[in-house]
Symmetry: C2
Subunit: 364 residues, 2 copies
Amino acid sequence: MKLLKEGSVSFYLFNDVFYNPLAKFSRTFGVLAIYTFSKYVGRGLVVADSFAASGIRGLRYYVESNVVDKIVFNDKNPVAYQNIVYNIKFNKIKDARVFNLNYFVFLPILGRGHFDVIDIDPYGTPAPYIDLAISFVKNRGLIIITATDLTALCGLYPRAAFRKYGSDIIKTDFCHEVALRVLIKELVFAGGRHNRIVLPLASMFSEQYARIYAYVYDGRRDFPKNNLGYIEITNDRCYSVKRVSDSVNKPYIGPLWIGSLHDKEFIEYMIKYVDKLNIEESEYKRLKSLLKLMKEEIELPPYSFKVSKLASKLRVSPPTLIDIIDRLKGMGFKAGRSHLGKDYFKTNAPYHVVLEVLEDLGKK
Amino acid sequence: MKLLKEGSVSFYLFNDVFYNPLAKFSRTFGVLAIYTFSKYVGRGLVVADSFAASGIRGLRYYVESNVVDKIVFNDKNPVAYQNIVYNIKFNKIKDARVFNLNYFVFLPILGRGHFDVIDIDPYGTPAPYIDLAISFVKNRGLIIITATDLTALCGLYPRAAFRKYGSDIIKTDFCHEVALRVLIKELVFAGGRHNRIVLPLASMFSEQYARIYAYVYDGRRDFPKNNLGYIEITNDRCYSVKRVSDSVNKPYIGPLWIGSLHDKEFIEYMIKYVDKLNIEESEYKRLKSLLKLMKEEIELPPYSFKVSKLASKLRVSPPTLIDIIDRLKGMGFKAGRSHLGKDYFKTNAPYHVVLEVLEDLGKK
């Protein structure tokens, strides 16, 4: 048993209970997202930390966001359960409950609509847990899912990817973005099955964590069919997007979400609210810069180009991102950075134009 | 309150509790399927009638098949619950339990692996209920799902179809077969999410009831990716089949199940066992003839041609099915009937050959 500190929370970690210090930043992002969501919907929140381990994520939501009316933890591991009970007492939290149940029992016994927010952070794929959460979260609620099975979601194991996510996934330079987009597709289809609309508010990749923050509400008419489709990889390696109902040529990736990774208004709120919270200096800077990148990528195409890869292919030295983006914008194209990597840019310019720009800038 | 009889079971129907006399034959088929499944897996069965209404389906499974160790009913309507309790007493059934719960609570509280068979017969689409059943049924168990929302599944409302089932569905002459194949696809993908393999044992359409009997077992390697694909409708209205990963041209239907609608061995067992059960004369004949048609269609393509439609298009009088099938077989093609309608045949012959045969036979 160790005493640890993360954000504003001190907590004990029992032996054999999982804790990933690398996910600290993703939890800080989560605190801000929870805070923002509460303002977005104008109410206090009942939050489920449904694969809680030590409970650190839920503890931080409660202590740091100040918008959680009730935090409910669940973990099927009895040692984790004891660990959470201990940490609740240690932090003197009154508005908390803890369960030691299978996930599929935990949500139903609390009833449909009990939770404003359901956070799913399992070991490996979240695919088995999505359908139930989409069905049980409150109308106008929030689902947060984590995926760490990046080998499947990035296309290293296409057969496993198809089996778990129902999509053809080919390995690409921008595979982490594909991972986020396949996850969103799964959320949206689960919504369709339950007469609910799902809208991604924020999608984040960091330290092998893919996380989706998705708004869920009752509805049928708004079903976003046009945002579900394929990314086609044509012979000259130029990407174009096809609707599900358009013709699709091999090789392609999908079906996946081809709409925005984030909701513009929500990201703007997050940027606004980042100063309301008490965030460590180092994370504060990283958070502000991440949110800026997220805002930048919202209206850009669902794929990215990797500078180092293109430069090496063209045998030129890699230009700076700023130079590439400025040049493309000067030519009348959309262009911007991606939060998915420092080496990436997004543009709607055709591939041959992208190559010309890289070649020209690389020579200088 | 009325006293009714169906098969070997007499039962009371309370006011305002749903009962569809037209589904009688589909329930008789179900009794035979349950009996066959018990022999197939070599064990007695714990069966869930999870949308039970009066309980007639589960009562018949128990009384007529003689292979049910325990029958468990559920209905969220309190009047239906009372009705089932009454009918259990009336039929002096000891190995029965009744619940009055939401479906999403009913399955989890009994625990994973409690049921050998989960029967889902809801009002309208079964789409919201598939994921949980696939996850909770016993390894090497049976899922039975009913769909009555044929307007979506047949492609009359393509937007609703895509939202609920994630497939593009175009209205065709063989739309009831498409309905079955889209449902199977949903079961197979739900299996993939839960590390389970799904195999259709029998798929049946009658009286606006689409019913799938599917075997579910733990597994990953056998995931039947090659049986998931699209039915393409090419310019000359000839159908061909594309794998999900092949190129797909518009207009097409899918993704859907393009493998066999039934398991050959299972249908052969059903044919063998139909004499073991005490079935009314009129239904016995219909059942035997249906099973023969099912066996015939097993190895044929995932689409059908409608004789009357083709004959009218060609302005010839409609030939008999036997003549068409004999002719096609004589030419070296596969051909056979479909259980989905008396006016349908299946063949792997190209469309222009089909037209030539119809034209030639129609002239005589």
